[in-house]
């Protein structure tokens, strides 16, 4: 039988296969380039970038927990110009679409970052981080109120023609409200989920383990929560969905596709087994073959729930 067609289009981002990496878990691509063939990825999503360089949070910035980890990196980064200078040459060289995760503390900052990335060769799209639990201003604050989120998306929309993909906050009662708000404001795609707000306390010192006190839970622990949110979002979405949260094995990625995602991102698993994204691509191809599907598009939203 013929190989299934793995190509997808994620709101204007053309991917050779539906698998990218989750922002913040793959650096700027370069760091893993010796370990895996990054040119085989459907897209490379880079660590969150704001306008200026940003130091992030003090250490400890992470702690291991059952089923995953809690991190509070705090969006350390080289700023948009530093990113373009230091990392885009390598990324362009991969030939893989680059999704830049952006953030700011004001609408103007988000818009300015988007503007500066608009004409950078190799940048295929923007993931708008409005859901990072690890920074005091910006990030999360934008993602938990639908009006604020919509206004932000609209502001960035005016600043760029790049595909725009807001990354929604998972800790909301009804994700559909945010899906609609983001779409109406001009989103081309939606990404979910970001980490769940979390905290770990060292009972001997009686202090939070993380210097930032709170952080975000990622890893297999959050996968069933992510599937639920993706499934629900897909019901309200008219634009494609990039799904992530706890993918360790191909099956967990396939769940997302069945639930309605067009593409998936591997996050925490990269730290444990850097070959995960490639194994997931292979696993999806195998699945399509076994089930006689000719394109991964047949899988998207194929949940039978009658």
């Amino acid at each position: 039988m013929q190989e299934a067609d793995l190509r997808v289009e994620l709101g204007g981002i053309r991917m050779n296969n539906p698998v990218t990496v989750a922002s913040g878990t793959f650096g700027y691509g370069k760091e893993y380039a010796e370990l895996i063939d990054v040119t085989r990825l459907g897209a490379i999503t880079v660590k969150g970038i704001r306008l200026q360089p940003w130091p992030g949070n003090p250490v400890p910035r992470h702690v291991e927990v059952p089923g995953g980890m809690v991190n509070a990196i705090g969006l350390q980064g080289p700023g948009v110009d530093g990113f373009v200078r230091e990392y885009m040459p390598f990324l362009r060289g991969t030939g893989v679409p680059v999704i830049v995760n952006i953030w700011g503390t004001t609408e103007e900052e988000y818009a300015e970052v988007a503007r500066r990335l608009s004409d950078v060769e190799g940048v295929a799209g923007l993931e708008l981080n409005i859901s990072c639990p690890n920074v005091k201003e910006g990030g999360h604050a934008f993602g938990t109120d639908p009006r604020t989120a919509a206004s932000l998306v609209a502001a960035v929309r005016r600043a760029t023609r790049l595909p725009l993909m807001p990354k929604l906050a998972p800790n909301v009662p009804d994700i559909k409200v945010f899906v609609r708000a983001a779409q109406e404001a001009g989103a081309d795609a939606l990404a979910l989920i970001n980490t769940l707000p979390a905290m770990v306390i060292d009972i001997e010192t009686r202090r939070p383990v993380l210097a930032n006190k709170v952080g975000g839970l990622s890893g297999p622990a959050i996968h069933p929560v992510a599937v639920k949110l993706v499934w629900e979002a897909a019901q309200a979405a008219t634009v494609p969905i990039l799904a992530m949260g706890g993918i360790m094995e191909p099956g967990q990625a396939i769940e997302f596709l069945i639930a309605g995602a067009t593409a998936v991102a591997v996050g925490t698993a990269n730290f444990i087994d850097p070959t995960t994204p490639l194994r997931v691509i292979g696993g999806i191809a195998d699945y399509l073959r076994r089930h006689g599907m000719r394109s991964v598009k047949e899988l998207t939203g194929s949940l039978i729930s009658g």
Binding site: L35, N71, P274
Partner: protein, 259 residues
């Protein structure tokens, strides 16, 4: 840097709670330089457990040696590894120690911090002295290896159960005085707890010699991608920056580190 499936050759208990693990790791071992480390996926932990970083304590052909202390879940499981077990290992990682000392190499080890220094001693062109410290006699490890290589070994324990009673820095102060008296320049290499490293760094600055410190910072990715293991550093021009211990280190010169 590569991700290989290493095969356990031998696991040897050292002092109580310390183990030596030998892995057949082929090219990874052959490429390794002293001060570099490996990132180990500990078998039998649950699937989502993060990797654990360990210094390379020695290399024999394609065989890699790790010297470790059981301190928690991961190292606890490691101690149950048997010959033939497969272990996923990423490495060699990090920058390693420079191998051209400007003076007599003085190696300062705290507990399992002796691990990268063992490897270093086997690769340094010039012989020197190992100052090995620990809480108690059982925490002073692998000193015979140094002696076999013709290195001088001095020991200090906090409870006095082996060598001098006190901190290893007491030995260092004496050694630096001795070298100064004999007009020799020292080159310090240290690995151990932060407090010890900081004290060694201060001695290097005071003595006007270089001090190479290998930091033990908790890690996630081990390859520079996650920004979990950051350390504030100072450039020669005095400006500060935030480095990743896994990628820009784990070895830094004393003057680089902003404690």
């Amino acid at each position: 840097m590569m991700d290989v499936s290493g095969s356990v050759i031998r696991q040897t208990p050292l002092a109580a709670g310390y183990w030596s693990l030998e892995l057949e790791a082929g090219l990874l071992a052959k490429q390794a330089r002293p001060g570099q480390f490996v990132h180990v996926r500990v078998p039998r932990l649950e699937q989502s457990a993060l990797r654990r970083p360990f210094s390379i304590s020695g290399v024999r052909g394609g065989v890699l040696e790790i010297l470790y202390k059981t301190v928690g879940r991961g190292t606890g499981e490691m101690s149950h590894l048997l010959p033939g077990d497969a272990v996923q290992v990423i490495g060699p990682l990090g920058n390693g120690f420079p191998l051209e000392p400007r003076g007599v190499p003085v190696l300062v080890a705290g507990g399992y911090g002796v691990a990268p220094l063992s490897f270093l001693a086997s690769r340094l062109g010039r012989k020197g002295v190992l100052l090995a410290g620990g809480r108690s006699a059982g925490d002073v490890l692998s000193t015979e290896g140094f002696e076999r290589l013709g290195w001088q070994v001095q020991m200090a324990t906090q409870d006095g159960s082996r060598g001098e009673k006190g901190l290893v820095t007491v030995l260092l102060d004496k050694e630096l005085l001795r070298l100064k008296a004999s007009g020799e320049q020292a080159e310090l290499y240290a690995c151990g707890p932060d407090g010890m490293l900081r004290a060694v760094g201060e001695r290097a600055v005071a003595a006007g010699c270089r001090g190479w410190l290998s930091l033990d910072k908790h890690m996630v990715c081990g390859v520079g991608a996650c920004l979990a293991c950051v350390q504030k550093l100072r450039r020669e021009d005095g400006t500060e920056w935030i480095g990743r211990v896994c990628h820009d280190g784990p070895v830094f010169e004393a003057r680089e580190i902003v404690w």
